[in-house]
């Protein structure tokens, strides 16, 4: 809304963030845990007066410096770059809210650099006590960096009380701060052990190699075991909607969760093997193989953390497409394009529907959907819908989905987006008249035939109690209601349109009840075809079907957000039974 969108429809910004972030996080956690590993291993070498261990520590320090300072440091800047390119509004908000937190983190980053450089270049040349002290300073600075950044990252998922009373400290020490800090600390100690497997694998002396492998394995094993309860603690502080997404509402998170679980088990088994069973087995290949599941584990953790706050980029504050909740509220039913600063079209008309729709997609949907890309591709997701169904989905369904922001815009803009998705992306037919006709034609008939004598209010009172069929019957015998009126003499279609219009002004406009088919079009078509519903309803009575429709969430958690009112359920049940008999 506020910012331009860097538009790479086949790639998607999300995947760019994910790639840089996961790589960075895998290294930056090592930068923390590895610091502790270095000082303690050096101390071990000093205590045991073992030149082999000390030489190993120095070699490990070089590897550590090359990995964390170059790759870790620069990808850290990379994350910062990429989030400001892909999520500028959210980045701006985080920067402005936590600027002094970031600034303090920068101080520790500087201390880290100086300490690590001195630690490496003076290894063996400085008196031991001072050298150890420098190592400790490095570790403290690295852990404090984690401490600071942790508060800001967690804020994005669990802003907690900040939402009501903004303030630095409230946002920083948010509900998931402590569990996440402990989880990440133990994870970083585990990683330190795993990375050390790799440097140990390069050792020539077999005794030293086995010795260091077992020692590093103990690090990994103990940290892994301590990490588990922290992970559980973390899950338990998640707010309800996020937990529901994690626990099954979102199929993609479930998949990530499974990967994470397998990765955890494989890591555990490999570490156990190298530590307890046969340290001598360690070699470069095994060491790398042990790191892969750990990488996947961390990846699935970070991915779940990101996905669990959908549809928000800043939970309860700003949607993923950069629109804040407050802005969305203010936009209810208004034009989205008119105030959109960076759109090239500011008004959708019947002539520019597809172009306007493309703009709306860019500013509202692209944040989470690619077009033909790997990540959450919109093409298969919209393949089953035709133009009226897509329009109905945007107007009536999308805001009920737990992981998507509401569609923002007026009716014409919904049609524009539908025209783009259905007509442009899927090459299907788009006929705006189909949609404008139903209510607009009805209204026109009303204007042409009724307005002359009285307002809508008395007709409303009359129509409120009647079904569509009764209204149509009533229209055919208006003279019986009052002799001033003549019977309405339009075609059957006109009678239906007029009746539909009258009904729509009686019931709230968001749920114009016409028939079961349209209830289906507006609520269900997005996810599955009608066959599966018809098959399910087969053999059940209409009232049983209607009762089950009230509890769709029980059939599948994906449908938990769907709610149909009594009329809609009855209409749908009736339609389903008609479909069956019709189908036979």
């Amino acid at each position: 809304m506020n910012y331009p969108v860097w538009y790479l429809p086949e790639t998607g910004g999300g995947i760019l963030i994910a790639v840089i972030a996961v790589v960075h996080v895998f290294i930056s956690h090592f930068a923390v845990g590895g610091g502790l590993y270095l000082v303690l291993t050096e101390r071990k070498g000093l205590k045991e007066n073992d030149a082999g261990i000390l030489a190993f520590t120095k070699g490990h320090a070089k590897f550590f410096m090359l990995v964390t300072m170059v790759f870790g440091g620069i990808t850290g800047v990379g994350i910062w770059f990429i989030i400001s390119l892909v999520q500028p509004a959210a980045t701006s908000m985080l920067i402005h809210t936590f600027v002094y937190g970031w600034a303090s983190e920068w101080v520790w980053f500087l201390v880290e650099i100086v300490a690590l450089i001195i630690y490496f270049y003076t290894f063996g040349k400085m008196d031991n006590r001072t050298h150890q002290m420098i190592g400790w300073i490095y570790f403290a600075a690295a852990w404090l960096s984690l401490f600071l950044i942790n508060g800001i990252i967690d804020f994005m998922l669990t802003p907690g009380a900040w939402v009501d009373s903004q303030g630095f400290w409230i946002g920083f020490f948010n509900p998931s701060f402590w569990p996440s800090l402990f989880f990440r600390s133990f994870f970083s100690f585990m990683l330190a052990g795993l990375y050390a497997f790799l440097t140990s694998a390069f050792l020539k002396d077999p005794r030293l190699k086995a010795n260091m492998t077992r020692y590093s394995g103990k690090w990994a094993l103990i940290s892994l075991l301590l990490m588990l309860p922290c992970g559980y603690w973390y899950l338990s502080v998640l707010p309800e909607p996020a937990r529901m997404l994690v626990e099954g509402q979102s199929p993609t998170i479930q998949i990530a969760g499974q990967y994470g679980l397998y990765a955890l088990i494989i890591t555990f088994v490999l570490v156990l093997l190298l530590t307890v069973v046969r340290p001598a087995l360690n070699n470069k290949l095994i060491a790398v193989l042990t790191m892969i599941p750990a990488f996947i584990l961390l990846g699935s953790f970070e991915w779940t953390r990101e996905a669990a706050r959908r549809p928000y980029v800043l939970n309860q504050i700003m949607y993923s497409n950069g629109v804040t909740i407050a802005q969305a509220d203010a936009l209810q039913g208004q034009s989205f394009l008119a105030p959109a600063k960076w759109a090239s079209i500011h008004e959708a008309t019947n002539q520019n529907l597809t172009l306007a729709g493309a703009e709306i997609f860019k500013f509202q949907c692209y944040a989470c959907h690619t077009i033909g890309g790997i990540n959450n591709d919109i093409l298969p997701k919209t393949a089953s819908m035709d133009f009226p169904a897509m329009t109905g989905y945007l107007l009536n369904v999308i805001h009920k989905r737990p992981y998507m922001p509401p569609f923002l815009g007026n009716k014409l803009e919904a049609m524009a987006l539908a025209a783009y998705l259905v007509g442009d992306l899927h090459d299907k037919e788009v006929d705006p008249a189909l949609i404008t006709a139903s209510t607009d034609m009805g209204q026109k008939l009303y204007n042409d035939n009724c307005v002359g004598c009285h307002g809508i209010d008395i007709i409303q009172d009359w129509a409120a109690e009647l079904t569509l069929v009764e209204i149509i019957a009533g229209l055919e015998s208006l003279s019986e209601l009052n002799e001033m009126m003549t019977d309405f003499s339009g075609t059957l279609q006109e009678k239906q349109l007029l009746a539909g219009y009258l009904k729509s002004v009686v019931t709230p406009p968001s749920s114009p009840v016409i028939d079961g088919k349209s209830v289906y079009d507006q609520n269900c078509v997005g996810c599955h075809g009608k066959d599966i519903i018809v098959a399910w309803a087969a053999g059940q009575t209409e009232s049983a079907v209607s009762a089950s429709l009230a509890k769709l969430g029980l059939l599948n958690p994906m449908m938990a957000g769907l709610s149909l009112n009594d009329q809609e359920r009855l209409a749908m049940a009736a339609w389903l039974s008609a479909e069956q008999t019709g189908g036979k």
Partner: protein
């Protein structure tokens, strides 16, 4: 295109603090960046010479180059943070418009960084091929500098942002701006000149171990500084004349403070050149650091001049919350004390 300018977020303390931190830290970034450029250029030049001494100097420079990258990056982070706080709605937009180039800075930097470590750790085995490795890294640095110049000028031109409407893929640059090239060259040539002074200083340090090597380093460092500064004066004039009249006149009396900065800077250049001519390394280096600060202040006047009609940081809404500022200052003091202590521990034995 005023209507495209995003609405800024509010800030927790008065804008002056951020301005202060911005102007305090950015020159440090420049100084490390300068040292990096000068060291790389002179390492390449020395490596190409036949003499044993010049090879030895290249090796000594190889050791500091990666460290200079680390510090240049770190000291780039702080001012970039404060820049985002003060001018977020400008810098985010310009970054997005050139998004593809902007993100390419990261892989380029990683590769160049590793190249410099390679040059250092494998100096002997690489032999003459090392020149290629370091030249490649230098080319990367110059490229990154070009992208930074683009972004820092594109953010000043909201009227050019309309190009986004026909190209949203992040491949825009600011090359149509006539000030871009003189500005970029001003930074790169001036930076390399200043880097020459850094090498001269480094020579003084090397002289404790090896007097003739140190003297050699100081001599070629000074030579680079003197030569390039003369070129730099020409580029600086070009840059000044390329500025829009309104910005140029800021230094010609329209803004008292800006004019004062300009005049003092001119004087400082003269004195620094004189000191360098007399081979007074420490004096010249100190004066130069002051000069870089003045240049950064002048740059800030230009920026504010450009943005005058759109925005000024005074307009940012303050929602006061001062405790995080205090937290930051305490952190800074603790962090700096630790750094000083560590440096003392590391250098005391070396200086003995």
């Amino acid at each position: 295109m005023l209507s495209m300018l995003p609405a800024p977020d509010s800030i927790p303390t008065s804008w002056g603090y951020f301005q202060f931190f911005l102007l305090l830290t950015f020159p440090l970034h420049l100084l490390f960046m300068n040292a990096l450029l000068g060291s790389s250029v002179l390492a390449i030049a020395a490596h190409l010479q036949a003499s044993q001494k010049s090879k030895a100097l290249a090796y000594e420079l190889a050791k500091v180059i990666p460290l200079l990258i680390a510090l240049a990056v770190n000291f780039g982070v702080a001012p970039f943070l404060f820049l985002q706080v003060l001018y977020g709605q400008h810098i985010y937009v310009s970054s997005i418009l050139m998004g593809l180039f902007w993100i390419m800075i990261i892989p380029t930097l990683i590769v160049a960084y590793y190249a410099t470590y390679w040059y250092d750790f494998k100096f002997i085995t690489l032999g003459r091929n090392g020149v290629w490795v370091l030249s490649f890294a230098l080319l990367c640095f110059l490229g990154i500098g070009f992208l930074l110049s683009n972004n820092m000028t594109l953010m000043l031109h909201p009227e050019a942002w309309g190009a986004y409407l026909s190209n949203a893929s992040g491949t825009l640059l600011n090359t149509q701006d006539v000030t871009l090239w003189p500005r970029y060259l001003h930074f790169m040539v001036g930076g390399t000149a200043a880097g020459g002074l850094f090498v001269a200083l480094y020579g003084r340090f090397l002289a404790r171990k090896d007097a003739s090597l140190g003297a050699y380093a100081s001599a070629i460092g000074m030579k680079l500084f003197l030569t390039l500064t003369v070129v730099q004066i020409a580029i600086g004039t070009w840059f000044l004349l390329a500025l829009p009249k309104a910005q140029m006149l800021l230094f010609m009396g329209r803004n008292g403070l800006a004019t004062l900065c300009f005049v003092v800077a001119l004087l400082l250049i003269a004195i620094t050149l004189f000191a360098a001519f007399k081979q007074k390394v420490y004096l010249a280096a100190t004066l130069l650091a002051g000069l870089v600060y003045l240049m950064v202040f002048m740059r800030d006047f230009v920026r504010r001049g450009y943005l005058e009609e759109y925005f000024s940081p005074e307009m940012l809404k303050v929602v006061p919350e001062y405790s995080p500022l205090i937290f930051f200052i305490v952190t800074l003091v603790v962090g700096l004390s630790l750094i000083l202590w560590m440096l003392r521990m590391a250098f005391t034995p070396l200086l003995k």
